[in-house]
Amino acid sequence: MTPLLTTRGLTRSFGGLRAVDGVDFAVLPGEIRAIIGPNGAGKTTFVSLVCGRILPSSGAILFDGEDITDMPAHRRVRLGIAYTFQITSVYANLSAYDNVALPVQRTLADGRAKGALHAGVMEALARVGLADRAAMPAGQLAYGHQRLLEVAMGLALKPRLLVLDEPTQGLSDAEIDDFIPLVREIARTATVLIIEHNIPVVMQLADRITVFEAGRILAEGTPEQIRRNVAVQEAYLGSGHG
């Protein structure tokens, strides 16, 4: 199977710091891939390069066989790469409905199809369980609901690759329990790239895990392989862990 996303020698320096350093990476279609690693390992920088929020110093990015290294971010989104922000970044002053209407109206071929817009918005809100809060200003939603709204905005783009940057950060245990089946559900129609610190969540969700350290890939494998990997234990899980 050809990978959906491939990076070759992807590098990004900030001053003297190589935040992402020669990363070769590939994700297969339909996969749930988790990226873990200590703070400052370059995870968010890496996915920002993939989404086009920042441009690489060197290296190449291919999406579905097409070179997108120099493509502006908004065109990558149109190709099907959606990014949900690590720091909740909903439009606080707009209603939940309008927040989701923005991505929905862009995916509609005919923006004037009012019925299609409404149906698309309510479907995306329903998938994350926020349909009954459509009229609320996003800034007045509970924090967990804002995270879900963020996911709904990503979903509404009908992405082929959905990048979730620490989606469970700040969620309660009960909310996390609801979140796991949601991601599985999303993965039936999209490939999911998820940065996550919550190791139990990662172990339950991911098909494969990539471990970053100091801008490089330290290890890659199934959850079971990663759990047994000695280098990973030392770098990240804590050497006393196993």
Binding site: H74, Y83, S89, A92, D98, L102, P103, M153
Partner: protein, 320 residues
Amino acid sequence: MNETPPARLYGLHLAVVLALFGLNFVLPDYHQGLFPRIMVLATFAMGYNLLFGYCGLLSLGHAMFFAAGLYGAGLAVAHLGWAVPAAFAAGLACGALLSLAVGVLALRTSGVAFMIVTMMFSQVLALAILYFAPWTGGDQGLVLPQQARVLNLGFAAFDLTHPAVRYMAALFLFAVVLLVTLAIVRSPWGRVLVAIRENEERTRMLGYDTFASKLAAVVVSGVVCAAAGAAWALLFGYVGANFASVQYSILPLLWVLMGGAATTLGPLVGTLAMYYVIDIASSHTSAWLLIVGVALVLLVLFFPKGILGALRRRWPGWLP
């Protein structure tokens, strides 16, 4: 922006237009003379509001777009002897070209830099108008002769210097721009403009080319302001360099702030209120700027969202 029954919305805006229409027949002569000016300036403010209120771009150079329309139409009449419709179109074209050029350059910046760059471009135009005095009349300006200001539509000729005709022409321009603004802010594109104001980076990551949207907003805003300028030249017959000065870049900002930024009717309310505050104050004292200043301070303290912004919070949440 919310899913409001459109009938009520368009009903309210049509009611405002009808009220202005009715006022023509009941206002005393003096006020019947003021209202066309207020409606044209409110059109200028609506153009400003589209960019500042909805898209969140604070320009300090919108006098140049008003002046582009004013001189585009005025010079066409004075030197080329063009008829009213062609001169008005020339004003619009000048506004469109200028806003496109300024937009492409100024939108490379944002925030304070955008304010400075737009102000700078506006100053260039103001100085150019003074420099080319043989054509523009310099600081004296140009007075368009009365016989040139007749709108000939084939079946009928309208003398734009006649008070009632002037009133109706200004109202027509105001009503068209008001309804266009309403349609824009309720359209998907209007939603994108607000999204850019609220969080541009997020909007980009939803797949929108935010530069293209902002440029389109600058051009639409510039053309509306140019329409107001062209109308001013043709209705009031005076084309003056003071309209290109910094003062006329600040005034639309104040009108919009007073009426309520990002409300469709705010520019009219703000322009009307400010015009009458100045008019009444200046008939009582020469220190009328002081009274304007006090009014603005009170406004910012107690109604930071403007008159309609404050009303919207308390009562009809559906006001666009």
